[in-house]
Amino acid sequence: MQAAYIARRFGVFLLIVWLAASLNFFLPRLSGQDPVRTKLLQQAALGGYVQGGIDEMTKEYERRFGLDKPLWRQYLSYLDGVAHLDFNYSIANYPRRVSELIADALPWTLALLGTTTLLSFAIGSFLGALLAWPGAPRWMRWLMPPLWALHAIPFFLLGLILTYLLAFQIPLLPIFGGYSAGAFPALSWRFATDVLQHALLPALSIILVATGGWALGMRGMMVTTMGEDYVTFAEAKGLKAPTVFLRYCLRNAILPQVTALALALGQILSGAVLVEVIFGYPGIGTLLFQAIRENDHFVIQGVVFTVIVALGFTTFVLDVIYPWLDPRISYRRA
């Protein structure tokens, strides 16, 4: 029944959370790295201070971080920390905690990705449906080749090209960052337009590529749907063309698109990370990029874990609302 279905889906979500946490915990240990020692040696090399006592310092730090305890104790306390969304301190920005850094970056990514994904899904699906519809204007057929070409290009490459055209050649939009240097984050109209201007190029590079993908998928589904008997019957009944288009064809063809959306979220996010890096957009991707540069393991792990959990949750929500979108599917096991 309904409750059982939701519970099962939630179980899958918890499984993802646990797997992501375990991956974060065990992978670095499998490779036999010694993060504390490596960091200390690096700092000693950078700062040029006394080389002696590294072993003692390593021991002391390991005791502090609990690294001298048996593995299973470490694992349990790690899981406990993760359950409270506590990922320790950032090594590179020391007094700040990883969770703070993520909390600062997350809204930027959520806003950029949420808007672009929804927009491209809506525009793409509608466009794809029109492309398959015989009553659509003729010029629409010319949209197909550019859509195909665009959708095969990675987000960030289009971002590079757009930056060159719209920010460098014709300086319409800012090239870099989330807001102008010197602008102070505040809830003002000026700051809001500034942020919007900076978000436009990254958003455009995601939307243009993603829209093509959704349009292609939708077009395929529309063609199949339009071949169904109930559509022929609806036409034979003399229903108006818009009714047949919206209620009979589009309504049915959109369902597999939603499934595809749930599956594509991971890919979209992977692509968006690189877009943020190219544009220096202050979201999760840039945070991750800086952490990789500075070898900040705790931040890398925290970001990866947070993103996997956030996506797992979104998938869970989509799973739960799917039967509501498609009345043919009940909550019972299919």
Binding site: L19, I161, Y164, L265, L269, V273, L274, V277, Q301, L311
Partner: protein
């Protein structure tokens, strides 16, 4: 024979376009390799930051690499990562898919569960964790193996679905009733019918693997001293070539990467057409 191929390609323009794009790249690499010294892809082998000229048709970068040599050396390296990872992914995926779909049962549930869950996770991020956990910087081949560690998920899922529909067909039933063993049915009855589909899946997997490898490289987790296309973009970003107006630095790798992805994409569409003639209705 040749004429037959040409006639078929006319009917399947996607396949033709994909082949032409990839063949152009292959020609570029082969002919370029004969004319240009690949050693110039190393830093300090040319003056720095020259815009394209007769001497350096693609320009040079800030560390004094001849970008033409970089492209000639780097394109096959990037493709190699894609092919190794793609082959490993589809190979593992095919085996798992056949085990899951032919024998069903608990094994099927486990394999399908892992593939389904793995696919909802953003692959690039898991690859980042793996790459960061490894000691030192990666070589090109290690990079391919890292990418392959997730490249089997999608093939497993899609091939399994195909096998599930195939195993109910009449001729498989006949083979089973005539006493053929499970592996024999898989190899002699199912496999040949899946070959075009496997080819399409492979091209798709290669494309996905190249995308993943370029992603890792742009983030700075790639083979630092190899002149792959993704590493070139990493240096572009690292040196802020965009803001400084060194357009030639990113133009060449961008064009080549777009050609690779478009070529592979059209090849997949073309192969899909062979594998699934019913698609013709939608074209």
């Amino acid at each position: 024979m040749m004429r037959g191929v040409v006639r078929y390609l006319r009917r399947n323009p996607s396949l033709a376009l994909g082949t032409v794009l990839l063949a152009a790249l292959a020609l570029f690499v082969v002919i370029g390799g004969m004319l240009v010294d690949i050693e110039d892809a190393r830093p300090l082998s040319a003056p720095t930051l020259r815009a394209p000229s007769w001497e350096y048709p693609f320009g040079t970068d800030r560390q004094g690499r001849d970008l033409l040599a970089v492209m000639i050396a780097g394109t096959p390296l990037t493709l190699r990562i894609g092919f190794i990872a793609g082959f490993l992914g589809v190979g593992i995926g095919t085996v798992l898919a056949f085990i899951a779909a032919y024998y069903r049962g608990l094994l099927d549930t486990v394999i399908r569960g892992i593939a389904d869950i793995g696919l909802t996770v953003p692959g690039l991020l898991v690859l980042i964790i793996i790459a960061v956990s490894l000691k030192g910087t990666l070589t090109v081949n290690q990079m391919a193996i890292v990418v392959a560690s997730l490249a089997w998920l999608y093939p497993t899922r899609t091939i399994r679905a195909q096998v599930l529909s195939l195993r109910e067909r009449g001729y498989v039933e006949v083979a089973r009733l005539s006493g053929m063993s499970g592996p024999a049915i898989i190899f002699f009855e199912l496999m040949p019918n899946l070959l075009p589909y496997l080819a399409a899946t492979l091209v798709n997997a290669v494309s996905a693997a190249i995308l993943a490898s370029i992603g890792l490289e742009v983030l700075g987790l790639g083979p630092i001293d190899a002149p792959t296309l993704g590493m070139t973009l990493y240096w572009v970003n690292f040196n802020a070539a965009m803001i400084n107006g060194w357009w030639w630095w990113w133009l060449a790798p961008t064009v080549i990467i777009v050609m690779v992805f478009l070529g592979l994409f059209f090849l997949t569409v073309g192969l899909d057409e062979i594998a699934n003639p019913r698609l013709r209705r939608t074209a």
